[in-house]
Amino acid sequence: MAVALLSLVGLFVSLYLYLYKLGKVGALVCGTGGCETVQLSSWSRVFGIEVSLIGLLGYALLLGIALYSLRPTLAERPGPTRLLAALAGGGVAFSIYLTSLELFVIHAICRWCVASAIIITAIFVAVLLDSRRFASRVVRA
């Protein structure tokens, strides 16, 4: 449940940043000005794809899986949780890469990107905590 809620928040953050890149929302509400610097840098794209779009699709996928895994018939199956762990782990690794770019290459911090990094980390931690119930069952068995 926490994963679904956090994914929904992350999805809105990514959607806001992507709408900015599409020119639909004017200047970003940021406070420091670092958001514009980061979002307009060449690092805001990976292989020609907007990072915010990658985030949007990633959070949408996490949200879909998290909601799907809430079905009672799937509650005892570890598959969805493992899939969430893999996706969120990849998201955390990507966020570490992006945050290091902000700190050491771009020299500007985008608060929305930091928010997203915190959200994906929280999702990963929530998934890991949830996955412990399967591990404990294996031990008991």
């Binding site: 020119g23 929302v25 509650a75 119930r133």
Partner: protein, 235 residues
């Protein structure tokens, strides 16, 4: 883990609240006019005008130079740019008889003229000043009364093939506010009374100067034959 019904109900309520708040926030930012502010009466720094003498069309060897002080939101400037300028270009600029210099003179009563001037300056960064100049004047009726001129200008930048991210960065930084102010201050010093005003030598010609009048003026100042042979006009 099969969640109890009460817990699921709490989750659904929380989920709905987050969804409504998030969608509301997105709807709010989408509904805001995406404005960029170009400050007025900024203190002009030496770097603002370094190497800049206006936007120039025509050969450096042309015997006559006209400087136009114009405002993108001024209807007479629009008529001049769209109706008279093509003839002037064909008959005077491309033939090497005239060098044309454009200077911004954004009138205080026109809320979008500085923004338009800045959009053109940002297009100049990508060597598209004159296409943007023409597009701004052609579209004046579309943006003049609009609450969202920023987005319209951005659309022009996109349609002209500019790197939109670089254009956005230029616009949000308002880096040419000082340059625009410097051109305006220059016009004030010369005594520009209205727009468009043409300056030839030290004489000012304001009002509805058409291409015929400019042809006659250039003829009187530099009769045919006195023009430079090589015209390096380019847009």
């Amino acid at each position: 883990m099969a969640a109890e019904p009460g817990r699921m109900k709490g989750f659904y309520i929380t989920f709905a609240v987050v969804a409504v708040v998030g969608l509301g926030a997105i709807a709010w930012v989408l509904s805001r006019p995406s404005t960029v502010e170009i400050p007025v009466n900024v203190t002009v720094q030496p770097g603002d005008t370094a190497g800049f003498q206006g936007y120039v069309l025509g050969s450096p060897d042309a015997p006559v130079e006209i400087t136009e002080f114009a405002d993108y939101q001024c209807p007479f400037c629009q008529t001049f740019a769209t109706m008279q300028m093509p003839t002037i270009e064909d008959r005077l600029i491309k033939t090497g008889r005239l060098r044309f210099r454009y200077r911004d003179f954004p009138l205080p009563m026109h809320p979008h003229s500085r923004l338009a001037a800045h959009a053109a300056a940002c297009a100049d960064d990508q060597h598209k000043y004159w296409p943007m100049h023409d597009r701004l004047y052609q579209g004046q009726g579309d943006w003049s009364e609009s609450d969202d001129a920023t987005a319209i200008f951005r659309g022009y930048a996109k349609a002209l093939g500019l790197d939109v991210a670089a254009y956005d960065a230029c616009m949000t930084s308002a880096r040419y506010a000082g340059r625009i102010q410097a051109s305006y201050d220059l016009g004030v010093r010369y005594g520009v009374p209205s727009t468009p005003t043409m300056m030839i030598g030290d004489k000012l010609y304001s009002g509805r100067l058409d291409s015929d009048a400019i042809l006659h003026l250039v003829d009187s100042l530099a009769p045919v034959g006195a023009a430079a042979d090589s015209a390096s006009h380019s847009r």
